[in-house]
């Protein structure tokens, strides 16, 4: 390892931070949830998760949270994912493929425009009694 200058130190910080930032629990601009119940996994949700991860890595964004959750209840339309931009209603996407995933990531997560042709609808179920 060569001796660091102050600029090197800053570069290491930026690089390492991109990886560890996820631990800080700050505010995220976008949250992507891949539904990974048994039904989702059987329908190929793992591929969808990987596709989102690839997109996320390529985008170098640090304000997008990618997570998974259980079955969304509509097992016949899996794989599914929910995209939620902060301050906006969550959008559920159904019958996903890797190709659709890329499009959704670019247009909706990055671009902010809902990809209507793949969307099931707006909103989530109410969780309060």
């Amino acid at each position: 390892m060569a001796k660091l200058t102050i600029d090197d130190l800053k570069k290491i910080k930026e690089k390492a931070k991109r990886r560890t930032e996820l631990r800080e629990g700050g505010d995220y601009r976008a949250k992507v949830t891949v539904h990974m119940g048994t039904c989702g996994i059987a329908a190929g949700a793992r591929k969808i998760m990987n596709a989102f991860m690839d997109e996320l890595e390529q985008s170098k964004s640090s304000d997008i949270l990618l997570t998974n959750s259980g079955c969304a209840g509509l097992c016949s339309r899996e794989p599914m994912a929910t995209v939620e931009l902060s301050g906006q209603a969550p959008i559920k996407y159904i019958d996903l493929t890797e190709q659709k995933t890329k499009e959704i990531f670019q247009k909706h997560v990055i671009g902010g425009n809902v990809v209507k042709k793949y969307a099931l609808g707006k909103g989530s179920e109410k969780t309060d009694a």
Binding site: K3, I6, K13, R19, R46, E57, S69
Partner: protein, 608 residues
């Protein structure tokens, strides 16, 4: 750089690898997690990270899942396959592995919602649970070494000293001397062409205190960075970390951290291209308590017998090899980078009028949530014990808290609303010390506690000065007598006299403060001493030689049907009776070992 550093993962599993969790098999948990993650094909999505002490040692081994801050506790290897499949593959957090507070029905999934963590303010422990202490890049990611860059390139030594002075930071090792002022003294001391030195005191020895170990294990770079900044401020080129050899994990993480810092040129010649040279050496202590005293510590570094010498001259003037030396404790050094980064103003806004910032306490004894907590100065004992500590186990009553280790004192329950800072603790007869906090409940005998601490200091006395060597021994003998029912009425006065003369005449801090546990228990719990002496009884039934064991014959027969367990276990043949008859204790034969009391399942054995 290794590949893992480049890749993005969707989940980070932060496994606590502080000493407490490690001894509860956290490395086994880590291996099981990695194995199961590979089995499920999640190795490209989920990263397992080992961190330093999370603080909630009572509940180890611990795992925090990020993002989401989901807190799992008391994990066993057999839980792991289920956890990996449910949470990390299918996204369904596993409730049964979450923390459930005593007396509550539902678990609390999120770390920051748990009372133990809620009231804590992390400065010295800022990176706990968030970084792998063995990866310097992760320390750098959380602003690590940026304070050093600032101190080396944007600040004059005098500015650094003023910043630390203005912050109000005081020594966290016990004495509470203003850190900036100490640095100023050292920087002004004449060197006669010799060097100045920086020392980190990691000779943590108070029973029940483990914050320094934890900081060195969880965030060694924080201490190293603080030391380099201090070195720049006072003009030193060499530093020493004096750490106990009984802390193997702390030592190995420190060695690794020093190597990494050297590799990056953050130690050595021309640090960050600023022209400043500094390096650090580790000196391992053999575990003598007295070596935590600064003059004994320096003697030990020099290779001499670890014995204290009179002060003045203070180390700031004549320290290592008679050169000006700046000694601060681990926790103090860990605070320094934050002060430089966030300013003295920011730091001094936390805390009380005379005590700024935060203090790390190790909360142990009769308390539900044993662990390491960092709280702002001025917090009350009640908040620490009831809110953070979760109160006393088994519905017992809080009796006292012992702070400051063998040098401190016992604070009684009536002072539970005392706001904690250096001055308030001294006022009630105790001291901040290094931050050990031993909680005691109603089953604790205060005479026995005093005897324990005096026996500790007596064993650890280096023997150089008479008051400490002979005085603590004499005090121990009196206390031992009292707990055996041989106390005399004049003993209390004698103890007080001895305590005062030892305080005034001992050579170093160890002896000066050794009588504190006796003095405070005498002050707040004199009645207990008197009952021991006059009535030959121990109200808490701890001093067994003062106890009388009897068997309630009705309970023994009606409830226990004369189960005979006590008689079978009595090694002195001091119990009469047989199965299905009531039993009796033969007092003449009883050696008061208490085994009958412990084994009786029907509470038929009574102690008075």
């Amino acid at each position: 750089m290794e590949k893992a550093n480049e890749k993005a993962y969707r989940l980070h599993l932060m496994v606590c690898a502080g000493t407490a969790c490690v001894s509860n098999n956290s490395f086994g948990i880590k291996d099981a997690l990695e194995k199961e993650i590979n089995k499920q094909g999640l190795e490209d999505e989920v990263l397992v990270v080992t961190t330093g002490c999370n603080g909630f040692c009572e509940r180890g081994p611990l795992l925090v899942v990020q993002p989401g801050n989901v807190f799992y506790q008391q994990l066993e290897e057999k839980d792991i396959p289920h956890l990996v499949e449910e949470h990390f593959l299918k996204g369904r957090p596993v409730k049964k592995l979450m923390y459930k507070p005593p007396k509550e029905k539902s678990p609390i999934p999120i770390l920051s919602d748990i009372n133990f963590f809620k009231k804590q303010v992390l400065i010295a422990l800022r990176n706990r649970g968030l970084i792998d202490p063995e990866k310097i890049d992760e320390y750098i990611a959380r602003d690590g070494y940026s304070a050093l860059a600032k101190a080396l390139t944007e600040m004059e030594p005098k500015q650094i000293i003023n910043e630390v002075k203005d912050s109000g930071l005081r020594g966290r090792g016990g004495g509470g001397f203003p850190t900036g002022l100490k640095w100023e003294f050292v920087s002004k001391s004449s060197t006669n062409g010799q060097e100045r030195y920086i020392v980190c005191n990691g000779d943590e020895g108070d029973p029940g205190a483990f914050m320094d170990r934890s900081i060195l294990e969880a965030d060694p770079h924080a201490v190293i960075e603080g030391m380099i900044i201090g070195a720049k401020a006072i003009g030193a080129s060499k530093g020493f970390v004096y750490v106990r050899n009984e802390y193997p994990l702390a030592v190995s993480r420190l060695i690794k951290a020093l190597e990494q810092a050297r590799g990056y040129g953050l130690l050595g010649k021309d640090i960050l291209g600023s022209g400043f040279d500094f390096d650090i050496k580790i000196v391992r202590g053999a575990g003598a308590f007295v070596c935590g005293e600064e003059t004994a510590l320096m003697a030990s570094i020099e290779g001499r017998l670890g014995e204290p010498r009179p002060r003045p001259p203070y180390p700031a003037e004549k320290g290592l090899w008679d050169n000006p030396t700046c000694i601060n404790n681990v926790e103090t050094w860990a605070n320094v980078p934050v002060i430089i980064n966030r300013s003295a103003d920011w730091y001094s806004n936390i805390g009380t009028k005379t005590s700024k910032g935060t203090k790390v306490f190790s909360l142990v004894g009769k308390i539900n949530n044993t662990g390491l907590v960092e709280v702002p100065m001025g917090i009350t004992l009640r908040e620490i014990i009831e809110d953070i500590g979760g109160g006393i186990p088994d519905g017992k009553k809080f009796k006292a808290v012992q702070t400051g280790g063998p040098s401190g004192g016992c604070i009684p329950a009536k002072n539970i609303d005392l706001p904690i800072d250096y001055e308030s603790l001294t006022e009630v007869g105790s001291m901040m010390g290094s931050g050990g906090m031993v909680v005691m409940d109603e089953d604790t005998c205060m005479v026995d506690v005093a005897k324990y601490f005096i026996s500790f200091t007596q064993n650890e006395s280096c023997g150089k000065c008479t008051p400490c060597r002979e005085g603590t021994k004499a005090m121990y003998e009196i206390l031992d007598r009292i707990t055996k029912g041989e106390g005399k009425e004049e003993d209390i006065d004698l103890l007080e006299d001895l305590a005062k003369s030892i305080k005034d005449s001992a050579l170093c801090g160890l002896g000066n403060t050794a009588p504190n546990p006796v003095l405070t228990t005498l002050k707040y719990f004199k009645d207990e001493y008197e009952i021991h002496i006059k009535e030959k009884k121990c109200p808490a039934h701890v001093c067994r030689e003062l106890n009388t064991y009897t068997i309630d014959e009705k309970t023994c027969l009606d409830v226990g049907h004369g189960c005979d367990l006590c008689r079978k276990n009595c090694s002195a043949n001091a119990i009469s009776g047989e199965t299905k008859t009531a039993h009796q204790v033969i007092q003449e034969k009883c050696i008061k070992c208490g085994v009958c009391y412990d084994v009786c399942r029907f509470d038929a054995v009574k102690v008075k």
